[in-house]
């Protein structure tokens, strides 16, 4: 009873602090609604002028997500093998590698992109680097969990036949968990398509760049066109990823 009361008090304190920090103000929202309605009305019809530019930006977004996810997978593979208990060749490295993964996942791709824009300049390359670093942490964590949840009997059988841990991992465990690992990869790619649409806000290329320009100019019909492209892009990625995941089972 006392424990439950303690939890209830903790929750109340948490929400009190959150409300104080955020200062939600419904009157301000109410006052802003007519402006939002005006912007919404002015966003129709959407402005698809310069389709070449829009297509180039959309292609940049897909390219950032695709290359970023691929580079992330390459970075994640060795980290996965070091962070999956059944195959980790150096058990003393397990916790340090897990900590690295937490750091990579803890810093958003957007923040990494911001840093890379400063380092390598504006453009999609900085966006791809940002996406890669953040995603490498996520992929390695999810992959290592997939390996840890796998049936280890075939791995043990391989090792009893004289296979090394590395052989058992590459010949038995990785192919056996391919549906799970590819599913993770598809999910991260789909996630990165969504994430890449806003990277342009920090100058890292893609549709976000076009979106920021339109918002700065209060060009809401252009904003609507870009939002519609983003929706089509993310829905297409979602469907394609779901189809590929199903076909891999």
């Amino acid at each position: 009873m006392i424990r439950r009361l303690g939890w209830a008090i903790a929750l109340v304190v948490l929400y009190a602090v959150c409300i104080r920090v955020v200062s939600p103000d419904l009157t301000r929202l109410w006052a802003g609604l007519p402006r939002l309605a005006r912007w919404l009305a002015s966003s129709f019809p959407p402005d698809f002028s310069g389709p070449g530019d829009l297509a180039r930006r959309a292609a940049e977004t897909v390219a950032i997500a695709t290359l970023g996810t691929t580079v992330a997978a390459v970075l994640a593979l060795p980290l996965t093998l070091l962070a999956a208990r059944p195959v980790a060749p150096l058990p003393w490295l397990y916790h340090p590698v897990r900590a690295v993964l937490d750091v990579l996942r803890g810093v958003d791709g957007f923040v990494f992109a911001l840093i890379f824009v400063a380092a390598v300049g504006l453009g999609p390359f900085a966006g791809m680097l940002g996406v890669s670093l953040h995603s490498a942490g996520s992929i390695a964590k999810l992959w290592s969990e997939a390996l840890e949840a796998a049936d280890l009997a075939p791995v043990e059988a391989a090792m009893s036949a004289g296979a090394s841990r590395a052989q058992a991992a590459t010949v038995v465990l990785l192919p056996e968990t391919l549906p799970q690992t590819m599913s993770v990869l598809m999910y991260i790619w789909e996630f990165n398509i969504r994430a890449s649409t806003v990277l342009g806000v920090v100058g890292a290329g893609g549709l976000g760049q076009e979106l920021k320009n339109a918002v700065d100019l209060l060009d809401f019909s252009r904003v609507m066109a870009i939002l519609l492209i983003i929706i089509v892009l993310t829905l297409s990625a979602d469907r394609l990823s779901a189809y590929l995941r199903r076909s891999m089972l």
Binding site: A157, A158, S160, A161, G162, S164, P175
Partner: protein
């Protein structure tokens, strides 16, 4: 002392968490012989085979020319891999990491794998996914994988536990034929006394971690 052909186990004991599982177990399996260990669930049969296979630490001595091959109770196959790829796993002890990762098996090992599949009656099923095979076929793949190790000693942990009577007969006949025709020393655990009686050259019972001889079959001369 030279290492004998077949398998010799002397004074083998296994403790787990301070609790004795096996106590002073000694036995010998000669080439060409099939020996069965019987016992209730939890008697220590699996522990004995895993210790002999080097999968568990033990006190005592296990003598075999090379590491024994093991057939696991629930096949332990990689379901998404083909039967052939599963049998190739048995050759990993002789293949380097790079070759194995690139799937560049030497032609001789591939031929051996096809031969092992043929010996267990799975000619033509090498390309089938393991999880598309029947229970009896999977157990045969597991036996073929053990054969691919080219070990003179074959251990089998309840190899027919999940099979119907027809497949159980077929798998045990196969193991006995492998012992007879190829001179393998076969040691297996069974919990069906009637099957043990029909197929074993010699039978032992594990009770409370100790090994007790049952009797030798009348139609086979004792091997030890």
């Amino acid at each position: 002392m030279s290492t004998p052909d077949g398998l010799r186990v002397e004074h083998l004991s296994v403790d787990r968490g301070g609790r004795p599982i096996l106590r002073d177990v000694s036995l010998r399996v000669a080439p060409g012989e099939m020996v069965v260990i019987e016992g209730e669930s939890g008697a220590g049969k699996t522990t004995l085979l895993r210790a002999i296979a080097g999968l568990l630490p033990y006190d005592g001595r296990v003598s075999a020319r090379v590491r024994p091959a093991m057939v696991f109770q629930a096949h332990a196959l990689a379901g998404r891999l083909s039967a052939e790829a599963n049998v190739l796993v048995g050759t990993l002890g002789r293949i380097g990491l790079a070759r194995a990762t690139m799937r560049l098996w030497p032609a001789a090992e591939r031929a051996l794998v096809r031969d092992c599949l043929a010996r267990v009656g799975l000619d033509g099923l090498g390309r089938s996914r393991a999880d598309h095979l029947s229970g009896g076929q999977r157990q045969r793949v597991a036996i073929a994988r053990a054969l691919a190790q080219r070990a003179p000693v074959l251990l089998a942990d309840e190899p027919v536990a999940s099979l119907d009577p027809v497949n159980a007969d077929a798998v045990l006949t196969l193991l006995r034929d492998l012992a007879r025709q190829q001179g393998l020393a076969v040691l297996l655990c069974l919990h069906q006394p009637e099957l043990a009686q029909r197929f074993a050259d010699r039978r032992f019972r594990l009770r409370q971690g100790a090994l007790l001889a049952i009797e030798a079959r009348c139609d086979h001369p004792p091997s030890v």
